[in-house]
């Protein structure tokens, strides 16, 4: 093999990679946060809602979980704009990723909420907690604590999946890689670098989720249980 590896383009193009990675972080942090909200609300609706609402949420979850993210992104970006709702690539990316994350979070949080025992709710009633207090302290936080590892994994998976938004020209990390490799013809080197950056981002996100768990869950803070 006569190929020589050449990483010289990095000297000039590293700011592009940093900018791409930064956009990836922005897109996915927003999508994870919104997706978590959507998912939690939908999970509550799925467990405590009326039959119609439960069906609707079920249809949403099944539709999203059984179709590829790529097609969801295309529908949001190309589909909605053809119907007259013009969104920028970045907004479409966040919207599509949020919808996707929301569906998975719904299933994860539903499992958590269903694992809260009835007696806990009755005990909360006896203590005179308001509905809101019960929901927050007795249902949601303990449910979340129980399924937190799954939520964290889903968050990391979503960050990796955000590479697909490069297909609608959101200039995140993968799109940057595509651009740089078409300028330099150093595709092998470029994609190796980007793979390493994604690995680092995965580690960073795991660390972030672990830090959040320390803030949210008192028990974890005291025991220092790692993720």
């Amino acid at each position: 093999m006569s190929y020589k590896f050449d990483f010289e383009f990095l000297a000039e193009r590293w700011p592009d990679f940093v900018a791409g990675a930064w956009l990836t972080i922005q897109l996915t942090v927003l999508a994870i946060a919104f997706g978590f909200l959507v998912g939690t609300v939908c999970a509550l609706a799925r467990v405590y809602g009326g039959p119609v609402l439960r069906r609707l949420v079920g249809a949403y979850v099944e539709t999203i979980r059984n179709t590829p993210l790529l097609i969801q992104i295309f529908i949001v970006y190309f589909g909605l704009s053809s119907l007259g709702l013009k969104l920028s690539a970045e907004v479409s990316a966040v919207l599509a990723l949020t919808i996707n994350m929301g569906a998975y979070t719904t299933e994860i949080m539903r499992a958590g909420i269903e694992s809260v025992q009835r007696t806990q709710l009755e005990a909360a009633d006896c203590l005179g907690l308001t509905r809101f207090q019960t929901m927050l302290h007795v249902v949601l936080l303990p449910a979340m604590e129980r399924v937190y590892p799954s939520l964290a994994s889903q968050g990391v998976l979503l960050m990796l999946a955000s590479s697909i938004t490069s297909q609608i020209s959101a200039e995140e990390l993968t799109a940057t890689a595509n651009l740089v490799q078409s300028d330099t013809y150093r595709s092998f080197e470029v994609y190796v670098i980007v793979a390493v950056v994604y690995l680092a981002l995965s580690a960073l996100y795991r660390l972030g989720f672990w830090a959040i768990s320390l803030i949210l869950f008192e028990r974890r803070r005291r025991l220092g249980t790692p993720l």
Partner: protein, 215 residues
């Protein structure tokens, strides 16, 4: 501009055959590499365990899209020009092996410890232990999550479209380029994926319920 017609729908459905073929390749390749990975993951040797776990962490920490680009454009530049089908097949095998390896490791570890001890007492060697005692039981545990993962494989084959392989997602883009009805077309594409994936999802759930009822 060409009007969207019934023929377009037929074209999409026909392209779905390539999606199915890719999924089958990915699953078979992933299973063939994934099983050794799973066995390495539970091996006695620290080196083997470390290698397998390193592989899994590496692949689960990089987007499949990047793996695809590496094997298609990257290897192409290095002088190994691969056909999109081959590049996609290799990438999906690498990807599926990491996930299946991890899923199956869990299944092997879920076989009760007493089974290992009992087969030890009977004087079975390692191979016999795996072949006659552990793996048959792990297989039963493994079926529901494996079927569930097949849904992920089918969905992820859509990424092969970005290296120019004409499967369902790419066919949707091609039709869209000539008719420019993205909402209708991609909804139809999504519907076809749903038809492929939903039965697998339902099967995974049913199998899981049955597996739990059995115990």
């Amino acid at each position: 501009m060409i009007q969207l017609s019934f023929n377009h729908l037929v074209y999409l459905v026909e392209a779905a055959r390539w999606t199915i073929l890719l999924s089958v390749i990915a699953f078979i390749g992933g299973a063939m590499v994934g099983l050794p990975i799973a066995l390495m993951r539970v091996a006695k040797s620290k080196v083997l365990r470390g290698l397998a776990s390193g592989y899994i962490q590496l692949i689960q920490g990089t987007p499949l899209l990047i793996v695809l680009f590496l094997s298609y454009f990257g290897l192409g530049i290095l002088g190994y020009k691969l056909d999109p089908l081959v590049a996609a097949g290799i990438s999906f095998t690498i990807y599926a092996a990491a996930f299946l390896g991890e899923i199956w490791r869990g299944c092997i570890e879920a076989v009760p410890k007493t089974q290992w001890e009992a087969s030890d007492c009977l004087g079975l060697n390692s191979f016999q232990q795996y072949a006659y005692v552990i793996l048959p039981q792990a297989l039963r545990i493994a079926i529901p999550p494996t079927v569930g993962f097949m849904v992920q494989i089918v969905k992820n084959t859509s990424l092969a479209s970005v290296i120019g392989f004409v499967e369902l997602a790419r066919a949707g883009q091609i039709v869209n380029n000539s008719t420019f009805e993205p909402f209708a077309i991609f909804t139809a594409v999504a519907a076809i994926y749903f038809v492929l994936c939903y039965p697998l999802s339902v099967a995974a759930r049913t199998l899981e319920r049955r597996a739990h009822a059995g115990r």
